[in-house]
Every structure is written in C-alpha cells, then in structure tokens.
C-alpha cells in the first residue's frame, strides 16, 4: 500500500568536512540491517535517503529503522502520476485516512483541523514554483474534505508532495527516529553493567552517539545468583538491537574473592569505595588490552553514597582513561522514562542481588578522602586477586536474535525439544 520510505538523517547533518564519511556509514548501516528484505531498492541525495519498497512489508522496514541510530525521521510515501488530478485525488484519500489516526493519537477533537501543503520540486520538468504547486493542490483538496481549513503556520496535518524525476510521491505522516550519530562513527566504549535501571540507559545513550559497545559485569557467586547474571544477559540482548550487527560482547569478571577480601579486611564504611576502585582497575586494564577508548557507566550525581562527586573523584583516581557517564545529570524519573522507552525497565527491576547490593554497609562514607582510602586498600592486599580476576574473565557474545541462557548454555540440547 506504500511505495517508498523517505528517511531524513540526524545530528550528522551539522557536520561539514566529515559529512561524506558519516553519510556513507549511515547509508551502509540501513542497507546492512535491511539486507534480509531482498526486494528493497535504495537511493540517496546528500540529505535524504529513499527506500523503494517494491512490495516488501513497510512495517518490517519501519521496525528496522527504529533500531538504526543516526536517523532523524522517516515518512511513508505513496506514488502517483505527475498531474494535478492524480495528486489531488490520492491526497484526499491519504488525508481522510490520516485524520482518523491523527485525532485518535493527538486527542484533538476540534470540529475542524488545520492543514497545509508543502512541495519539494526536485523534478524541474514540472512547471511552476513549489509554492504555486502547493496552492494548486490545496485548491483542489479543500472543497472535497469538509472539516479542513488552511493554516500554513501551525498545521495539524501537512500534505507533502515530493516531485522527483523518477516519480511523484505523497506523504502526510512523519515518524521520529532515534537521532544521534551513525553506529560505529565514534570509537569503542566498555559499559559497566550491574543490572540496575541506569546502566542499560547509559549504554543506550552511548550507542545513540555512534559508540561501538561491549559490556563488563562483575559476578560474585554465591552471593549473587545466576539469575542476576541472566538479567544482565537479557538487558544486553535488548541493547544489541541498536547496534550495527545486533551483537554485543559481555565480559563476566569473577569478583567474589576481591569482594570477600574487602569485606573481611577493610573498615566497612569504605567497602563500596574500595569495591568500585577495584572494578575500575579491572575494567580499565581489560579495556586497554582490547584497545577500547573509554569506560561508560550509569552513575548519576548524588543517587547513592558512592555517586557523590567526592566519591567519584576518589574512585576515578585509579585511572586516567575517560569515564563517560551519560546519565550523570539525569533525575531518576528521566532515566526510568528512557528505560521504559527502550524496554529495559521491566528486566532491570527483577529483584535479585547484584555485586553492588551485597556486603553494603548501613552507613557508607559519603565524602571519602583519598589518603584514608589508600590506607584501607593497603590492608586488603588486592593486587594478586585483581590479576587473577582479569585472567579468569569470561567472554560471552550476545545477540538480539536468539536468547542466551545462563542456566542452559547448551540450550539447544534435545531435552528441551518440544
């Protein structure tokens, strides 16, 4: 029922010199993700990307576009012949159809809806000016639809006419894309993932900016269970949808020995600070080895004792690698709203213990001083354990296409056949 999808690029349109590279990347990303839909044909100008459907299901394409970062918006277009009569009669149908949807979605129950026509005259063979064409079409539409009036400044409905040399296309609806930069345009980052609400949101925001993501998780069995690890796996599988190839690597660090050493030897008020310093050390060391540029985490100012600026500074002192904290200034409510949008929220609130909730003292230090922390750290003698943890870190490659089970790493075994 639709012939073409018109795609507009996002943030990258602000670029000057590197624009070509970004353009190439985002176009490749769209094509790559759509490669299962064989009948699609593509065309692009500098500022727009066109997908010719050739009979493919438009919904499938939209579902894919909703996972491509770097796109500002898209519109579903119908083709018509290049004359006023044909344009107007298709336009009337499309507006009548969209009116119902618009009223339902916007709750606008005004008797009349405002409307305008906008023309993009890329096909210079067609006589007249863009404004002239818009007026001609509007003149033909208005008498046929009784609850419309013209308002070119603040229209409820805009009919767009795209006059292209290969055909004339109409659309009335614009769907918002994810925005951001094309996937893979911004280097590599490693997401520190506990399984809470914040870290997946931080990961998503980084992905949106084009960062290639891997994730690191600290597991402390038997204090934390396989269920907690499964939760992290499930969260990453959701995030993987927004990557170029649908894959994210998860590194699982065995953290029990370090955590028990801190618990046994250090003053309990420093437990969290010391634990986080150890995590940063491990993550940075692995990241450097894997040529990853930055660490990413879900810290947010003041949310818990370990996320005061003083705590962050003492923890951060273990490394000079940049730490990106995408949600650092977000309120919890804002983070939750993104989590709901990307559908990580319901998974994040599963109630299992994670490495940040075991051994937590009732009153942790809120403004730790580096010299005191170093004294406590000395007592725990962590160097050996940290080295061992790095050596024994396991990598699981996760993807958004099939579920990975922590319980049945052999989930293809015939005992599960139905």
């Amino acid at each position: 029922m639709y012939d073409l999808i018109l795609v507009r690029y996002g943030e990258m349109t602000l670029k000057k010199k590197n624009y070509r590279q970004f353009l190439q990347k985002v176009n490749d990303n769209i094509k790559n993700k759509c490669k299962g839909l064989k009948k699609l044909k593509y065309f692009n100008t500098d500022y727009r990307f066109y997908i010719y459907l050739n009979g493919e299901d438009y919904q499938k394409v939209l579902d894919i576009l909703d996972t491509v970062v770097g796109l500002y918006s898209y519109s579903l277009c119908k083709q018509t012949s290049t004359d006023y009569e044909a344009i107007s009669s298709l336009a009337i149908n499309m507006i009548e159809e969209y009116k119902v949807k618009y009223r339902a979605l916007s709750g606008n129950n005004n008797e009349k809806l405002s409307f305008k026509v906008e023309t993009n005259r890329a096909n210079k063979q067609f006589p007249g000016t863009s404004i002239g064409i818009s007026q001609e079409v509007a003149k033909r539409i208005l008498p046929k639809i009784n609850d419309l009036y013209v308002d070119v400044h603040n229209p409820d409905i805009t009919l767009n006419i795209d006059l292209r040399t290969e055909g004339t296309y109409l659309y009335v609806e614009t769907i918002k894309g994810l925005g951001g930069y094309p996937s893979g345009s911004a280097g590599k980052g490693m997401l520190m993932m506990s399984g809470g609400i914040d870290s997946p949101v931080a990961g998503f925001l980084a992905l949106k900016k084009g960062v290639v993501l891997s994730a690191i998780h600290f597991a402390s069995p038997p204090y934390t269970s396989d269920l907690a690890l499964q939760k992290v796996v499930d969260l990453i599988e959701i995030l993987a949808k927004y990557t170029l190839d649908g894959k994210i690597k998860l590194l699982v660090v065995p953290f029990t020995e370090i955590q028990t050493a801190i618990h046994e030897k250090a003053n309990p008020i420093y437990t969290v600070t010391l634990m986080r310093r150890a995590m940063y050390k491990i993550a940075c060391s692995i990241a450097k080895e894997k040529k990853i540029d930055v660490l990413i985490n879900g810290e947010s100012i003041g949310q818990v004792a370990s996320q005061t600026l003083e705590s962050m500074s003492v923890v951060n002192a273990v490394t000079n690698m940049p730490i990106i904290r995408p949600v650092v200034t977000y309120d919890k409510e804002e983070i939750v709203s993104v989590a709901r949008k990307i559908k990580t929220y319901d998974t994040s609130i599963r109630p299992y213990e994670d490495c940040c909730t075991v051994f937590v003292p009732e009153h942790p230090v809120i403004k730790p001083k580096l010299e005191d922390v170093l004294v406590e750290e000395e007592k725990c003698d962590l160097e050996e354990s940290i080295k061992k943890a790095i050596e024994n870190t396991k990598t699981i490659t996760l993807n958004c296409f099939e579920k990975y089970s922590v319980f049945n790493s052999d989930s293809n075994s015939s005992e599960f056949d139905i």
């Binding site: 949807k101 339902a104 989930s411 599960f416 139905i418």
Partner: protein, 371 residues
C-alpha cells in the same frame, strides 16, 4: 466406537501424551524457584511460549495460560473492562456461554450491551455492527467459529471496521477455529483471543489468552506474580509444553486436515439430503468440522441416546450447555423456530473420522424414524 463429538473434546494425541509424562517427570521443579532446577523449568516455559507464538506468526502479543478457555475469556473481558464502571460493549447472540454469560453479568452491572443478531446463515449482521458501534464502544467479543452450527464469522471485516475506532478493542473466542479453519486475518490484528488445548488433541485443564503487549489487563485472582500476575499459582509446565506441542503439530496441518474434513463432510451432508425428515442447520458458510441437523418433532436428546445404543457418539447443542432443556439459542437465533432448536443434534468431525464411520452414522440415522 464411533466418536463424532470432536467439538466437545478430542482424544489426546499419543506423542503429546508421551511429552506430558516426560515433562512432568524431568521438569517437575517449580518454574518460580530461584535454584538451577527451577530455572531449567522456567527456561522450558519461556521456550514453549516463544515457539507457540512463533508458530502462529505472532510478534506483538503475550500469552497467559489459564485452566481452560472459559477462564481465559473471563480474564480477557473482565480483566480488560475492570477499569470501567459503565460503557457500551458489543457481542453476539450466538456466543459460547463462557462469553455470553459474562456479558449478561456486565449488563446487570451498568454496562450497555448490544447482542448482535445472526442472519439465517448463522453469520453476524455486519450492517448492524456498523450501526451500533460508536467511537466510545469499549469492547467487542465475537467468536471465530460458532460451536453449534460451525458458522465462520467475518473476523477480517470486523478488524477493518475497527480501524476507524481506535478505542474499541476486539476479543475473539478462537476455540473452534484454531487448527481447523484457515484464518482470513492476522492474529497480530486481534487485541485478545483465547483457545483451549483439549480441542486440538492436547490434555484438558489448560487454555490460553493471547493479548497485545500494550493492553492493560487487570488481575481477577490475587496471589503471586506468576504469569504477569494474571494467573497466580504454581504452573503445570507439562500442560503448557503440551499446548505448545499441539499448536506446533496441528497448526501447520490446518489446510491439509481441512481438505480431508471437507471431503467427509460432503459425504455426510449428501447423505442427510437423502433422508427426508432431516433439516440441515449448517450451510456452506459453516466450518466443515461441524454439521448441525434437526429432526423436527423428535427431541435432540432422544436421538443422542438412540445413537449411543449403536456405540455412536454425537451431542445435542454444545456439550457445555446440553443438559439444559431450553431450546438451543444459536439455532433459535438463526431459524426463529423453537421446534428446530429443540430437536437439533451436532455432529463434529476430525481428520481422524473415516468414511466407514460416516456411513455407519447415516445408516443409523436412516433407521431412526422406526424407533
């Protein structure tokens, strides 16, 4: 024995029964237990749900397993409407009691209910639906295939009408349709639908409600958080896995079995046409799986018991309400004849029925006038 009451229930398939036993033994741990054994069961549960939905081509729905389709219909209608105190809702005069009685109850409790008429062919009056529906109509419940005469309802047309009414949700009782009739619609376009495993060669004691992800359904039972909190209580994993198996095994065979049943249906109906005192209530709009006939002046129950003496099993009306002596409401709605409605019997078929069995039934019925 000649069993011709497959609309009431079906015998369990051997492969499904074996699976039932295996799951009860090998996966006995509670799916909500935190330990490895429990999580192994839970993995099996999630896998069953996913494979079931995949088989039906469903992408945007969730599934809740209930104890039967009646419970699933109650959860759908009452669970969806629980946030409303009143409003307009629409159903048909020929629904199964598990839907009809809910609407009767809601009517007594402040809802405005419209019961759509059926035409002589057993199909709902679509014009009446177009007239009655308003933009504030909350819910429409329409069965896919009627359980008494087998009439196939125009679900696709209803879906198209509903496109203009974004607020109105559609609930479909798919019990007699699934794995029997080829849908002329996509399950993805239906807000809520229900089915029952024992009608498709699976075990009794399990039904399902499949509903759109973003639909808010409120709980009817209070307890644990199991199954999104909508069906608290320990899950019988084997029933769920067998439901998945039944769909996986029989849904892909829908067309093949339908072709076969059409063939034996024709033999049956041609045979009936030769018996002068039989009135055939089903017609070309009906599912070939159900043939409903009336013997004017003989009570339906008398015929059931007479056939039973020849070891042939059919039913009066639907088995769910057949012990009531009132005239069958679907036949009454179609024919407006109390006589036809009181004397109807239902023969319901399956791919398991043979031509010999059909001929034996025809022979027995031919002799009935002499009873």
């Amino acid at each position: 024995m000649i069993y011709l009451d497959y609309g009431a229930t079906t015998p369990i398939d051997d492969e499904i029964l074996d699976l039932y036993v295996r799951i009860e033994k090998d996966f006995f741990a509670n799916t909500t237990s935190l330990h490895r054994l429990g999580q192994r069961s839970n993995f099996m549960f999630e896998k069953s749900k996913q494979e079931l939905l995949n088989t039906l081509g469903i992408v945007n729905h969730d599934i809740i397993f209930t104890s039967n389709a009646t419970e699933a219909n109650n959860l759908a209608v009452l669970g969806y409407l629980s946030k409303y105190k009143s409003g307009k809702i629409i159903t048909t005069k020929i629904e199964h009691p598990s839907v009809f009685e809910i609407y009767k109850h809601l009517e007594k409790n402040g809802f405005e209910v419209v019961y759509l008429d059926v035409l002589e062919n057993g199909i709902i009056d679509i014009e009446q639906l177009k007239k009655e529906i308003t933009k504030d109509t909350l819910l429409i419940s329409i069965m896919w295939v009627n359980n008494i005469v087998g009439s196939i309802q125009p679900i696709n047309e209803v879906i198209n009408i509903l496109k203009e009414y974004p607020r109105t949700k559609l609930h479909v009782d798919a019990v007699q349709g699934i794995c029997k009739v080829k849908p002329d619609f996509s399950f993805n376009d239906i807000d809520m639908f229900t089915f029952s495993t024992h009608k498709i060669y699976g075990p009794k004691g399990v039904g399902a409600l499949i509903y759109k992800n973003n639909l808010e359904i409120d709980k009817r039972l209070y307890g644990s958080n199991a199954q999104n909190g909508l069906k608290p209580g320990t899950l019988d994993l084997a029933l769920v896995v067998c439901t998945c198996k039944a769909i996986k095994k029989f849904y892909p065979l829908t067309e093949k079995h339908l072709e076969y049943v059409k063939k034996i249906n024709k033999i049956l109906v041609d045979g009936f046409k030769k018996i002068p005192y039989i009135h055939i209530n089903s017609n070309s709009f009906s599912s070939p799986y159900i043939v409903n006939i009336s013997f004017p002046s003989i009570n339906g129950e008398t015929i059931v018991h007479t056939l039973e003496n020849s070891d042939i099993y059919v039913s009066t009306g639907s088995s769910c309400s057949s012990k009531l002596a009132t005239p069958e409401k679907t036949i009454l709605a179609m024919t407006s004849s109390v006589d036809l409605a009181k004397s109807s019997i239902r023969i319901s078929l399956s791919h398991l029925v043979t031509e010999e069995e059909i001929n034996a039934l025809l022979k027995a019925l031919g002799e009935i006038k002499n009873v």
